[in-house]
Symmetry: C2
Subunit: 480 residues, 2 copies
């Protein structure tokens, strides 16, 4: 390995090839579920350096095909499915994009921003806002995650309802291929029908097909006002009805629609009582956000009109509209505190699933019943982005049962019951978190064999040495 | 070939394998530029039949690898780049999806419609409207083109500004692969991060990677009001300024923004005088559409507010807002009549290009100058979807020059000047029409070699026999 490491040092400079000391910031995953070993952490400063690093590895692999050398691209290392940390072979090189964090260009008339992969998501949002625009991708880890990782994982978050996932916000990519070539695809074009859409192939491929080094992203005008409401609902059916009304009344103004079950909010109430959760006796609550290009007065009239119609309809039993930015922030904080409250309550089994919006009530009822029949007293934490059909459907140990023991004994059963149910309702076992290494076996089991075969053929065609993030997403043999 | 044709007849029924008589509806392209010869036109009625047809061809090719048999998937045969008609070898089988035209399902709560590939676009729009929803894809050929073709070509049209291209409107696909397998990907999910996005790979691949047999598409609430305005502008720079103002004032209400040059409108005036083109002495006109979820009063106030701001700014010198649906239709008809008026004026050299919106004024100025220097008296017809950076930049013979002679002598030069200029401004040589067979050589010349190599590897991996629409988009050798 020494010659390869020397070559990498020559490319990025010796201070940026880390092999000693505590490398856990790069080798341990965000949720601390696994701790791998890296041959090295390499931190290139430019696309040319990324290209040279890949070419060095390809060269080494050509001479030493059984060396087991491979590259694990990494951004902010905030992923939830162990997709960007090395395995325990000690033969994987972490390729950290963090030093490539420039905002290259803002094109106001084209409504685009071009940034390097290592830009922190919040920095992209801030740069857009400073230029008078909105970059709408927003998620819990935005202070640490990078835009390259967001694109590699096709991140979702709370604004998908209106603006789509990360892929819908991307107009162009710069990618270093598995051969070390640079694809300069930072077009910033809204229409470009010149062949296969490589951009969408690299986005969501979790670093297994190419290394995203920069992206051109869509910007939107900043809204004139943003109002948040909190509504109490009698059932999940009512939440689906409210969503339909909200689409009609708010149109594209509807930028947030988060549903939360009573048990989830009860946990927030227990562990973060100072947040004063409204309507804790309601079976479900929904957080709504209305973004308006006109004025706060208009936004408020629209939102109040919706809530009146919903009370008349009966799908909402009570509601408040935040009177200040501080109140709105607190409502969002309650929503964002659910995972933290869950953690306070103890370990739990998390699922990030989606089904068609219309199927959500039946899915929840059927799956709740299945789990309660299988495990007496099991507690269900249910919340998520209803507008996208995306639930974080988490399973907590029965009261009095040790959480670690519960996980060890019941996780396979719980996963099987939940995923089988998801498939029955035409859903996805990973809505926004991706596959990484954590769900590779689940994907092999649940994904259509036709799709898996096509994916494998693509992986082998674009990365014949299986150099890039091998074993993530799907298992393949090198074809080179 | 006889055994293969017998097998195909056994699959779809003898009346649906056409080999005799006038097949020009399937073998001649929309613009009547080429007339191919088909071994047969095969018209399956179901996905299972499509699958069986592909498997029969694969079987035949395995036994007769040099037979030259291949399949040309075809929808409404309205494409503009000769991508869905057979070549002149007489060995290609046209696979017409027209009999597969069912609307399978509307899911109101999920805001989706599932349709078969052969559905006419207008029928999809109508089915959506009948259920109280908008399916926003809209283009000139909507009465004849099919949704399968729209997706295969990633069609654009007039509503892209707000709703995106065909690909952005598609949540799931059913595809028959080059092996004849059926990928049942009609998920209707808004979030699904389970591996590579095959949907986006098939969309826009022009039938070269798989055969789209059905799709699940996004629906939107019908707008409460839609208003159209016509504005006079002093320059293309002013049009870009107006676009920025329109984004700010109308937000997501801005659903149309079409720019038209004075010469283009003059042709409409000359050949369709009854349409009464407004502001014919203005260098440029813009057609604006504002869709509002609230009311016509609100829509009008918003649009008038925008036009006042634009007049204050100076980017608009005069404007009218349509007072009735009939007036609005006439304004759109003027816009849609430009290609017809051009045809009346004589043959011309068409380009469907895009550049970043910010680069449009400089691109137009530079390219106009280049062409006028190269060909004295050349006339430039310039119109298009400015909001998407997409211009139909067409070149008409100088007055008094025979159009056919002009095309024969000048087309290569004109194409080179226009495409070189497009590349210099970071644009695309095919914004919404695709590559087909007409632009294969242009693509090979202008597209990044890195991208071409990736595309070729993908084609060979997914279609090793080169069975599906060979020679379209890019040239490859069979890898099987």
């Amino acid at each position: 390995m020494k010659p390869l490491l020397d070559e990498l040092m020559a490319i990025v400079g010796p201070p940026h090839v880390l092999t000693d000391g505590d490398l856990s910031a790069w080798t341990q995953d965000w949720r601390k579920r696994t701790h791998g070993r890296a041959l090295a952490v390499v931190r290139p400063a430019s696309t040319a350096e990324v290209s040279a690093v890949v070419k060095a590895c390809v060269g080494y692999l050509t001479l030493h095909p059984h060396s087991g050398i491979s590259l694990v691209p990494q951004g902010g290392n905030t992923g939830l499915v162990v997709g960007s940390t090395p395995d325990d072979t000690g033969q994987q090189i972490v390729l950290s994009l963090q030093r490539m964090n420039a905002v290259r260009h803002i094109d106001a008339a084209n409504l685009t921003i071009t940034v390097e992969a290592g830009c922190i998501l919040q920095a992209v949002q801030d740069a857009a806002r400073a230029a008078g625009f909105l970059f709408p991708l927003s998620l819990a880890a935005e202070g640490s995650c990078t835009i390259g990782g967001n694109l590699a994982a096709n991140a979702g978050g709370t604004q998908v309802l209106r603006f789509g996932n990360a892929r819908e916000l991307c107009l162009g990519l710069e990618v270093v291929t598995a051969q070390g070539d640079i694809w300069a695809g930072l077009s910033g074009l809204r229409k470009d029908n010149t062949g296969y859409d490589l951009r969408h192939l690299y986005i969501g491929s979790e670093g297994t097909l190419g290394i995203i080094t920069a992206a051109t992203l869509k910007l939107y005008p900043l809204p004139a006002a943003q109002l948040t409401a909190w509504a109490a609902l009698p059932s999940m059916d009512a939440a689906v009805t409210l969503l339909g009304l909200a689409h009609q009344h708010l149109g594209a103004g509807l930028t947030g629609f988060e549903v939360m079950g009573q048990f989830a909010l009860g946990l927030v109430n227990r562990h973060f009582g100072h947040l004063r959760v409204p309507f804790t006796d309601s079976p479900f609550c929904v957080l709504l956000e209305n973004s308006d290009h006109e004025s706060e007065t208009h936004a408020r009239a629209q939102l109040e009109g919706l809530l009146e119609a919903a009370m008349d309809n009966g799908c909402v039993t009570d509601a408040v509209v935040a009177e200040s930015l501080a109140q709105a922030k607190t409502l969002w904080q309650i929503r964002e505190s659910i995972p933290l409250a869950q953690a306070e309550e103890g370990l739990n089994i998390k699922h990030d699933i989606s089904v068609p919006v219309s199927a959500i009530p039946a899915f929840v009822q059927a799956t709740d019943t299945l789990l309660q029949q299988a495990i007496a007293g099991v507690r269900l934490v249910n919340f998520g982005h209803l507008g996208d059909g995306n639930l974080h459907y988490n399973v907590q140990a029965p009261l009095g049962v040790d959480a670690a023991v519960f996980l060890r004994d019941q996780e396979p059963l719980v996963n099987r019951l939940v995923f089988d149910s998801v498939m029955q309702f035409g859903g996805s076992i990973s809505a926004e978190h991706g596959i990484g290494s954590l769900k590779v076996d689940h994907l092999a089991h649940y994904k259509s064999p036709v799709a898996l075969q096509a994916m494998r053929a693509i992986k082998q065609a674009l990365d014949p040495h299986n150099l890039l993030n091998p074993g993530r997403v799907l298992q393949v043999q090198p074809s080179a």
